[in-house]
Structure formats: C-alpha cells, structure tokens
Subunit: 363 residues, 2 copies
C-alpha cells in the first residue's frame, strides 16, 4: 500500500468517524424501505404517486410552484441553465470559478449545451454584488452556490443575497440556486428555506448531502420551467422508468434529518475549534457557517497522511480517509458533519486531538 | 372515467395478466435485496465492487472487452452514437424510422449532440443490407434494433445481420446494437449472445425488459470506447454517487431470467396463435420471433377498449391496459411475455379468448 492507501485503510478501520452519517452501504436502502409495503407501486416515467407526491411536497417545502425529481444534480443544474439561456436567447451563464459545473462535470454544460461561462470573483472568495454588477450585460443566468463548497462552505451574508437577487430581477437576469446543501445553511442565516428560495428563479437541492439519501436531486421553479425541465430530463436520459429506490429513501432521510441541521452546525463549530487548537492546523472558514469546513494542515501531503493514519490507528477515531495537496508544503481535507458525530464518546475525541497536536508539534 | 381509464381500471383489477413479470412494485426491489447483507458497500461514482463486478460480468457475457452500467438506455445509446460520430468526424448516424432515439427521446440525440439522422427503410420493414448500401457515404454509425420493437419485435435473418456487419467493417462504418431486448431474440436465432454481439462494435442491453430489473442499462465495447463513454456518462449527469439499487436488482433478475427466454418465446407463439384465432384480430408478426408481438384489432379504438374492458371484467384475465389508434378503424396493443404467463390457469385463458372472439363476432 502507498501512503494514501494506508491513510484510507486506517480510516476504514476506525471504530468511530467524526464526519458524515455513517457508511454508505446497503443498510441505508433497507432501513428506508423497512416500513414500505410490498404492494406500493413504482413510479412510471415520471408519473404516479411514488414520484409526484414527493415532488409536490418538495415544491411546497421550497416555496416554489412545481418541482421535479432528478437522478442527479449534475443533470438538474445543466438543464436549469440551459432553460434560462434559451429564455434569454444568450448562451452565457455566470458562476463561481470553483462551481461544480466548472470543475467536476467534464464540461457537460459546454459540450452538451454549448453554454459559455463567465467566472465571477477569484477562487478564494464568495460572490459579491460588485462581481455580478461587473459581468457582461448579456449573461442569461447567475448561479450561486450556497454554501460555496470548494472553499470550505463559506457564505455571503443574507443582505448580499437580497441585493444580488434585486439586481438580477431589475436587469432581467435569471438567478439559480445551487442549493445542494441549502438546508445546511439555514441555522446560520436564521431564515426559512422558503425565504432563501424566494430570492431565486430556480432551485436545486441534493438528496444525499446533509439529507443523506442514496442519490438524486430536486429541481424547483415555476410551472413553465418545470414542464420544460421534464422535456430536457428525457433528453438527458434521466426520465427513468422507475426512480422510486431513490425517491423513497430521499423522503425517509429528509424526514429524519431536515430538522437536525442546527445540530450539525453546532457540531461543526465545536469540531473546527478542536482542529484550530492543534499546532499548524487551521480550518476554512475558521468558524463554520454551515455543517462543513476544510481542514488545512501545514505539512506536505505525504507527511500529513502518515500522521493522520497514525492518529487514526492509535485513537480508533476517523478524521479523514484522504488528504489533497494545496502546494508543496500544505494540504487539506473536507469535513461535513452529520449523524455520526454525536455517537462518538467525547473523551475519545479529546484523545485523538491530543495525539494530533502532539504529532504536529513533534514533526 | 373515460373509456381508456375504464380499460386501465379493468386491467388493474384482473386476477391474472398474460404479459410481463407481474406488477412493478416495491416487492421487486425488496425481493432482490433480501439476501444481500446490510454491510455490503455502495458503489461510489462508478467505482467499487458493487458496480465494477457486474460490469465485468456483463462484458464477459456479451463477449466485449469492457462494459459500463448506465441509469438508462436513452443515455447509453446517445453516448455510443456520439462517440462513433466523433471517431469518424461526421455527425451522421443511420437507423430505423421507428428507433427509440427517433420517436421516444424528445430528440436528445439532435439537441444535445448535434447528430443528424438518416432513416433507413420504411417504417413497416426491418433493415436489409440494401438499405445500408444505399445510405450516404459519410454515415459514421448504423444502429440496428433487435428485435424491432415498434413493429411487433420483427427480426432480420442472421445472414442479413452478418452481411450488414461485413459491409460496415469494409466501409469503416461503426455498427451499434440497440439490444434492449437482445436476450429475447436468442431462442429464434439459435445463437449465443456473444455470436450476435461479435457482429457489432458496441452493444446496449436493457436491465428491465426481459430481465425485469428496476431500471438501468449496460453498454459494452472495447476499452477505449468504454473509457470514453464514462466521460460522457459524467457529462450527462449519469455518473451517480450510487447506482447499486439498480445494479443489485439487475444482477438478481438477470440470474433469475436469463435462461428463461426460450420459455417466453414459446409462450409468445402460443398466445399469438390464440389472438389470431379470434375474428378480426391479427398479431404482428403472425408468428412471433421473440417474446413479443403486437395485437391488431379491426375496430375503432374506443370500441376495442370497451370490448377488452368487458373481457377483462368477465374473465378476470388481463390482456391489456391500453389500446393505441392505428387509423380510424383499427388499433393495437403490445404484448411482451414474461414470468406472469405460466401462472395463469389454462382454462381461464381459453375462457377469456372465447369471450373475446364472441364479442368480436357480435359487434
């Protein structure tokens, strides 16, 4: 095994993990289906109670006219942007340079839809009103990702969101919410999800981040937008004969976790403070504004991996299964808090962080 | 309820159905997962034993180098054709005028990939060598659908397939198999699936037709083709974090049904003969060449629907939940044989067909 495999292996063999909702295994599916009757009918190509009831529920929850269930957020968001560029008759959309669509989708937006992208702000910042004001006039749609995942889940303040929304409405620019983790921002904003979504023309929410379902996404907006998105869903190959394995699990974990986001947020702040108390380690942001943050380690990647593996083997506490290089002397990993954290004995956490600090000091 | 709803309702309330594998309900999922351990790990974005083991198994079964699991056939086939048009540097593909891609996918192939289509032969025929020989020289890829679903599942003879394959190889034209129902053709061709697939550069097979899984598709071909198709899978939004609910069910029902295709074929021939014995009813083809056929009724759609609803209510035997208009005086429905047929008491089937014939004579 190389160092990174050793790190992964040490993580997989810990008794407790600090982040997440527990392992992604078959139990996740079985637990959600335990109480569902054998005779309950499948959805059929986007029709039937199995899909439409959940779509209606999510539309109402998000404060939008209609919603549609998608197999993935990648598909949902490309389609949202395609619709808005067609409406405006301009192929330009604007978003953060580290948007999922820009760095994780093999350029599907450009290769499938011919959409051109305008990158707002620098990669270490969140988007401000000034960034939106200074973009080219023919941008059809602005996408805001809340929280901005690739920089540790940072957030603009709510006044900025409101100002961007007002500006876009005045200028006839559509505003789309990449709200993969939108529920995770509510405790910080102290707003309802409806209050946030009302600032946007269209909204996407993931079913397997904070909610912890198996896969899938919901896209919401007005009636015309959703009708149109169903046509594109078929074009993309996303209008499956049966999506119910994802829908019933999404619904189950949505009910289980939608009201626990404040717990995850508090846990994130607590855990970030523990990391920040260690020599040569800092979280981004320093004080989390959602359930997530990044842990920056002032060590080369290989060295950090060996050290983390050591802490995990000695403490039985899982911090991370990987580290990514920032530059030759620094690396980081991501932490998203979920159900797992509250199961970990506090004294074991303290032991792990004591070990981590010792190792950072010693090297 | 209007007449079509009455028909659907009468079908849903029958004791037995002649076609299919039984209801598409939650039991289909639960049965497949019954023996799978809670601790079995999910696939993660196309990696892990949960997906890779089944892909390897299907590649080997189909006689291809590699295979990839897709959420849908729509996605898999658009991608196959996109890859072959890129390889050739020509945006043209040729297929049957009633290909799934031409009539059921909202023109995804054209709208997402800018592919131009050449329609081979007339819509009532299967594609012959002459059709392929007479198409424009710059066609990058020919798609053959076996069996040709929209005309009752007709098939060209195996010599025609071989001749088309040889011609395409000579002319540097790629040949793609829309093999959604390819297993269902093996008893007629008396060939192995490998023998058929060896004629094609790429092959798609559905996991929920004859196999009867929940959803999903497998695309197979050489190593380069599959590597490339995984990139496009991500672009389409098909590289889900977890596809295992579809994969494990596909595998379960594949093992359960792959060797039962001859039974379904024999049942189809038997059932078609019963339809053909009724006044004013004929199947297409007259003698099925797979597990499927169409039932043509020499009556206007509304009248046929009322009559079928009557037969279903009186006999408790489900023939069809719908009828589609051909012209003002004729209509049809599709029949695909599966596990359900062998559960139906023979005397009840005879009663139903006696009733059907009586009603056709009486009206």
């Amino acid at each position: 095994m190389n160092t990174m495999e050793v790190l992964k292996d040490s993580f997989d063999n810990t008794d407790y993990q600090l982040a997440g909702h527990g392992p992604r295994n078959v139990k996740v599916l079985k637990q959600a289906f335990q109480e569902i009757d054998d005779e309950v009918k499948s959805d059929i190509y986007g029709t039937g109670a199995a899909i439409n009831d959940f779509e209606d529920k999510m539309a109402s929850f998000l404060g939008k006219e209609k919603a549609v269930f998608f197999p993935s957020g990648t598909m949902a968001q490309q389609i949202a942007l395609r619709i808005w560029t067609d409406v405006k008759g301009s192929p330009k959309v604007a978003y953060h340079p580290l948007s999922h669509l820009e760095i994780h989708e093999e350029d599907g937006l450009k290769k499938l839809h011919g959409i051109e992208t305008v990158l707002l702000t620098d990669k270490d910042s969140v988007i401000q009103l000034e960034d939106v004001k200074s973009m080219p006039a023919d941008v059809a749609c602005v996408l805001l990702e809340l929280p901005q995942r690739e920089i540790g889940g940072q957030l603009p303040d709510f006044e900025t969101l409101t100002a961007i929304s007002q500006y876009c409405r005045k200028k006839d620019i559509r505003l789309h919410l990449d709200g993969a983790r939108i529920l995770e921002t509510l405790p910080y904003y102290q707003k309802s999800v409806g209050e946030i979504c009302s600032l946007f023309d269209s909204v996407y929410i993931s079913m397997y981040k904070g909610i912890g379902g198996i896969a899938g996404a919901v896209l919401a907006g007005d009636d015309d937008f959703i009708k149109n998105s169903k046509v594109w869903k078929k074009r993309h190959g996303g209008d499956l004969i049966s999506l119910y394995p994802y829908i019933f699990t999404a619904d189950y974990y949505f009910e289980l976790r939608k009201d626990k986001m404040a717990d995850y947020y508090e846990a994130a702040k607590e855990l970030a403070a523990k990391y920040n108390s260690c020599t040569g380690i800092a979280t981004l942001p320093e004080i989390p504004v959602s359930n997530m943050f990044h842990v920056h380690i002032d060590r080369p990647r290989e060295q950090a991996a060996e050290m983390l593996a050591g802490v995990q083997r000695e403490s039985g506490i899982g911090l991370s299964g990987y580290v990514r290089e920032i530059d030759q002397g620094n690396c980081y990993f991501e932490v998203s808090l979920g159900d797992a954290y509250s199961d970990v004995p506090k004294e074991k956490i303290d032991t792990a962080f004591h070990l981590l600090d010792e190792k950072m000091k010693g090297e």
